[in-house]
């Protein structure tokens, strides 16, 4: 059977015409406005309270809309954005080091390996400067210099220092800023907050997104919530690999359910494997911990020159070490983009030069930096990361070099959205990591926080107004047949999962799925491997529905049921990721096809055939997905072979 068919191309992304630096201004001017008196009568559902959803919900409420907000954690403050460590980019050029909106735009398009939309990326770069202002006004305690002004540092893929940070807890501080703004609106009665609620279905009425079905994770009650528009800000799907740096609860359910209802899923195979994570220590491993990319500012990456060198790192002399990133990429050195650093680590380990008990590790060494700057300076910059490393591994990185290895970290793919961040379903908006829009085939460090806040504070509130202004929509409530049907579907699904009553746990299936994905759809992909993976995923999915064991009932707090629903959706997504990876017969950014590399082993793009966004349409369970292509045009940043040498 065919794996997919091809449908009509996507003709219009709704980006205004004209020079790229004028497009956002044009859009803002042309967007229709909603009269403040009417806003109160309009309800917007926002699923997710991370940087994207939290900032959007707070801003929409400030503007006067009635907002219903959802998250699966016990408090909106715990969204996975809280874990972001390193920093947030902005084109402030406070360093006077040649940065500008245009340079951030350029770096991001290039960093994404020419697979993102110029219009969106330019807007992101423009808005970046407002984000820093907004966060400072909220009391976000960014790192500062002695003069009292904001400090910045460099991140991978850039030669300027444009990354703002709050020690190693930037995501936490930015999220708490958004959370506090959100709590203010909750206190004022403008936002109805529903923590410990999981969205399990999207409700469409007359082709428009009008509501969601949620399960109260404490009581198990399933209910339908209706609104004038729905915003998904539910984060990324890296947990399809089981082991990743994402929080345990991160899932694809919200976006996948929308996909099944007709929303296109774009570039699902674009995943980011982060080069600096703590290596796996055993079968019990439940997640992987990131060591922020900022460490590569001062840490030097190396492995022994000879294979199988088992000596302790301090016994390996300078001339016996291979600082391979500095050797291969002299101009960017340890600060090459993530995809490149990850693959280089894999290559040296594949050569047999990996370190640590599993040999799947490379050193990240701070000895030089400590010598040059002193231990105190290093402690001030990275203290919490060093402590975290020691707690997990039992080794002191001030004394022994860290051991790191790549791990799944971020997903560039997501629901397809137009320039307004609206999916192909009217009234369904998608923001933050959940959409596909700005990072192409590879995201640069410190750009996800920037995108989440750009979407939530500035872009969505403008573009959603344009949609709402075309209303008012017909009033609908939970008794509408479409709403009843969606709720019944959810109830049936919950019962089906409970009814299997097999002999394998959800985690055991999830782990096995993750292994298939890591093996065949991870850092390196090949046609044979992907075909094998598709067969294996299908077989395992069948097993899942016959053998999974979910304990308890649907009418209580039931964590094994929550996991089962998420893993069931991961199974479907995993297959689409492999199909997307298989159809893209080129290498670009995080998508590396073994068959498509340059003579020196770098990603070999094929712009003639693949300079497009692959937006997939769901047809039916087991049916072939339909591919819609959105051609990418590069008018300002001319595609070249990325070089960081």
């Amino acid at each position: 059977m065919e794996l997919f068919t091809e449908g009509d191309p996507i003709a219009d992304t709704k980006a205004p015409a004209g020079p790229v630096e004028k497009r956002w201004e044009t859009r803002r001017f042309e967007a229709k406005l909603v009269n403040p008196a009417n806003r109160r009568k309009m309800t917007v559902i926002v699923v997710g309270t991370g940087l994207a959803g939290g900032s959007a919900a707070a801003t929409l409420a400030e503007q006067g809309y009635h907002v219903k907000s959802y998250c699966y954690q016990d408090s909106p403050r715990r969204a996975h954005s809280i874990a972001a460590q390193g920093g947030i980019n902005a084109a402030k050029n406070y360093r006077n080091d040649g940065d500008s909106v245009h340079r951030l735009f350029y770096d991001t398009v290039k960093g994404g390996d020419f697979r993102s939309r110029e219009s969106n990326v330019h807007r992101l770069a423009e808005v970046s400067v407002n984000i820093i202002d907004q966060c400072v006004a909220q009391g976000v305690p960014f790192a500062r210099e002695y003069g009292g002004l904001l400090d910045t540092r460099s991140f991978g893929g850039a030669q300027v220092q444009r990354t703002f940070y709050a020690r190693g807890q930037t995501g936490q501080q930015l999220l708490l800023g958004a959370y506090q703004a959100l709590e203010r609106q909750i206190g004022l009665g403008n936002v109805e907050m529903n923590a410990r609620h999981e969205m399990l279905e999207l409700v469409l009425v007359d082709g428009r997104a009008r509501g969601i079905v949620v399960r109260d994770l404490v009581t198990g009650e399933i209910s339908t919530e209706m609104a004038d528009a729905v915003v998904l800000a539910s984060g990324g799907y890296g947990n399809v690999f089981y082991l990743s740096t994402n929080a345990k609860g991160c899932n694809v359910t919200a976006t996948w359910r929308a996909h099944r209802k007709g929303a296109y899923f774009a570039n699902p195979c674009y995943t980011q494997i982060h080069p600096t994570c703590i290596p796996v220590s055993g079968d019990h491993q439940s997640k992987l911990t990131l060591m922020s990319e900022s460490l590569r500012n001062d840490g030097r990456v190396w492995v022994p020159k000879t294979k199988g060198d088992d000596r302790s790192p301090k016994d390996i002399g300078e001339d016996e070490r291979d600082y391979y990133l500095e050797r291969i990429y002299p101009s960017f050195g340890n600060l090459v983009p993530r995809d490149i650093a990850s693959r280089a680590a894999k290559n040296v380990c594949d050569e047999g030069r990996g370190v640590g008990p599993t040999k799947l590790g490379v050193y990240l060494d701070f000895a030089d930096a400590i010598g040059r700057l002193g231990r105190k300076a290093i402690e001030a910059k990275y203290g919490n990361l060093f402590e975290m490393y020691e707690r997990i591994t039992g080794e002191d990185p001030y004394e022994v070099p860290m051991r790191i290895y790549p791990a799944v970290h971020y997903t560039m793919g997501g629901l397809w959205v137009d320039y307004d961040l609206q999916s192909n379903i009217p009234g369904l908006f998608v923001i933050g990591e959940a959409n596909f829009s700005d990072h192409g085939a590879n995201r640069l460090g410190a750009s996800a926080l920037m995108q989440g806040l750009a979407d939530g504070y500035f872009v969505l509130p403008t573009t959603i107004a344009n949609y709402l202004a075309s209303g008012p929509l017909e009033k609908v409530d939970a008794s509408h047949p479409a709403a009843v049907e969606a709720r019944t579907d959810v109830e049936d699904r919950v019962q089906r999962l409970l009814a299997v009553d097999g002999d394998r746990t959800v985690d055991s299936f999830h782990r096995e799925l993750g292994q298939i994905m890591w093996e065949h759809c991870g850092m390196e992909r090949s046609e044979a491997g992907l075909r094998k993976a598709i067969d294996e995923i299908r077989a395992l999915r069948e097993q899942f529905w016959q053998r999974v064991k979910v304990s308890g009932t649907g009418e209580e707090l039931n964590q094994s049921l929550e996991k089962a629903g998420r893993v069931a959706d991961f199974f479907e997504l995993a297959e689409l990721m492999c199909i997307d990876a298989l159809h893209r017969e080129e290498s670009c950014g995080g998508h590396f096809r073994a068959e498509h590399q340059t003579p020196d082993g770098e990603a070999q793009r094929d712009d003639d055939r693949f300079a497009y966004v692959a937006a997939w349409e769901f047809t039916a369970d087991g049916g072939p997905s339909v591919l819609h292509k959105e051609d990418l045009k590069f008018e300002y940043v001319h595609p070249t072979q990325r070089s960081y040498k």
Partner: protein, 254 residues
């Protein structure tokens, strides 16, 4: 390692609850505490028993979702460490470990080790913010902040809202949590306009939520995984006094 766990099991808010003993074998010292509980739960599920419910998400000490009393210590024996970051190498082979939920009247038990901490959110909603609607912000560099203040604000802002301070406090007080946010915002120029209404709003919300009063028992800071210092409570008290003297009302934003 082989361990004996004694875990608090409680079906729901109405259930009385009790300690149940579970032996667990083959624990690796490299496992985290929560991974050890995962192993137990996998076994319970296959045996047809109800797995132990516990909250967690990031598993890297930052989301504040996990929270367990381990042998009577909030987050367990290692200082400055959340339960998810605690590793089994901190325990001895053959040890018996008691695992209980946070116990505080403001944090009712939902199930097993899961408690309801929404009272913390209500404290923040009552003033734990700077009123700065999106779009209204001035250029970031228009207000420099002395590095020492920025650093100290950051130290307090590091609170993860886990509730260990409340669980450790003999009075079940949430003062350390409240004081951490107040200290952060009162050290920054952006936090000044609402400084006194904020403290009244947050302290009132704290008291209404059923937290106990602070009697300077000092149990909170040692239990706090982020080392929020006790002197933040002193700052809170000073601001509270100043605010009541000024007669500030608790209308946020006024």
């Amino acid at each position: 390692m082989n361990l004996t766990l004694r875990i608090w099991r409680q079906k729901g808010p109405e259930d009385k609850g009790r300690m149940v003993t579970y032996p667990v074998d083959d624990v690796s010292p490299d496992m985290s505490f929560l991974e050890m509980l995962d192993v137990l739960n996998e076994r319970l599920i296959l045996a047809g028993d109800d797995p132990v419910a516990f909250d967690h998400d990031c598993r890297e000490g930052i989301c504040g979702m996990c929270g367990l009393m381990i042998n009577g210590d909030a987050h367990g024996p290692q200082r400055g460490t959340t339960a998810c970051q605690l590793h089994m190498r901190q325990f001895k082979d053959g040890e018996t470990i008691d695992i209980e939920p946070w116990r505080a009247s403001a944090f009712p038990v939902v199930k097993d080790l899961v408690v309801n901490r929404s009272a913390f959110d209500r404290i923040i909603a009552a003033g734990g913010y700077v009123t700065a609607p999106t779009g209204s912000a001035p250029e970031a560099h228009s207000t420099p902040v002395a590095k020492a203040n920025a650093d100290a604000a950051f130290e307090s802002a590091a609170c993860i809202g886990c509730g260990a301070c409340v669980a450790a406090c003999p009075n079940g007080s949430g003062m350390l949590f409240t004081a951490a946010k107040l200290t952060q915002l009162s050290l920054l120029p952006q936090g000044q306009p609402e400084r006194y209404t904020r403290v009244i709003g947050m302290v009132d919300a704290h008291d209404e939520a059923g937290f106990g009063g602070c009697t300077n028992a000092g149990e909170c800071t040692p239990a706090c995984p982020k080392g929020i210092p006790l002197n933040t409570i002193g700052r809170l008290n000073r601001d509270y006094l100043a605010a009541t003297a000024k007669g500030a009302n608790n209308t946020p934003g006024s």
